[in-house]
């Protein structure tokens, strides 16, 4: 179980994963050895799984992001597996999520511009298997995206 110290460390680390251990220890109100022991324990418990770099696709010229909400043909028992396997092969798909609710699956697709999006949509998305219905939402802005957990 986590105690207050673990929570303080996780809160500070989530706010800035790249900070040096000495800063992290300071901000969490502890010493470097204690902090490093706690981090090791959190990793060993599988709570802390690592860090990934976040790419800004705009900086690479990808101006368009579309959320595709997909309803699948559920009479086909392999609908989810086939769809996910096929979607993984489309490089512009940056996120695949499955849901319980009105929507079965959501794909995040990025493109350089609308013409590029149109081309991806026609040749790689509409050809994905077992789609019963598809609905597109266009991203305008991300207002909060840190995905910080309120630990």
């Amino acid at each position: 179980m986590l105690d207050d110290m673990d929570r303080r460390i996780l809160r500070q680390l989530q706010a800035d994963p790249a900070q040096p251990l000495s800063d992290l220890a300071d901000r969490a109100g502890t010493t470097v050895p204690v902090c490093s022991r706690r981090l090791a324990a959190l990793e060993k418990a599988g709570i802390l799984q690592g860090q990934e770099a976040v790419i800004d696709w705009h900086a690479l010229g990808y101006e368009v992001e579309v959320s595709l909400r997909v309803t699948l043909d559920k009479t086909e028992s392999r609908a989810f597996d086939d769809m996910i396997a096929a979607a993984r092969k489309v490089p512009e798909v940056i996120e695949i999520q499955t849901f319980l609710g009105r929507v079965d699956l959501r794909l995040s697709v990025i493109a350089r511009d609308m013409a590029h999006y149109q081309q991806i949509y026609r040749s790689h998305i509409l050809t994905l298997p077992h789609i019963a219905d598809i609905e597109a939402l266009m991203h305008i802005a991300r207002l909060k995206e840190d995905q910080v957990l309120p630990v």
Binding site: Q14, P17, I47, A53, A59, E95
Partner: protein, 151 residues
Amino acid sequence: MTELDDIDRALLRELVRDARQGAGALGRAVGLSQPAAWRRIKRLQDAGVIKSRRLLLDREKLGFGVTVFLGIKLATKGRVSLDDFERAVSAIPEVQTVEHILGLYDYRLRVVARDIPDFERVLRRRVMTLSGVGDVEANVLLSEERRPGPI
């Protein structure tokens, strides 16, 4: 816009896999000397291609068993201040991401909760009480994977 060569792409893939690697390890992975790898990473950071780092945490082990995506339609467009709504919704700790979208809904929120009753509490007390909230659609996240994207 930043143009990437094959070595940049290999570096980005490595950093998305594990952002904690130093320039030495990254250089070895892509066949560069440590200083050459460091210069490339610095260039990618300065150009804003590497936006930030994200901590990977096991949500379930931290007690967050439920992630729900809410589609929110504002009820009285024109009379509600979008700025006020965005500020208020971004301030809710359980709301991890807020996206302004175009299509069936106006906003898409990612909400974490301990369990379904906890989610109901967040929905009723925090989200539904915001001024301007109209139709709300909820989809419970079952699985998600992030893809490396077109690099």
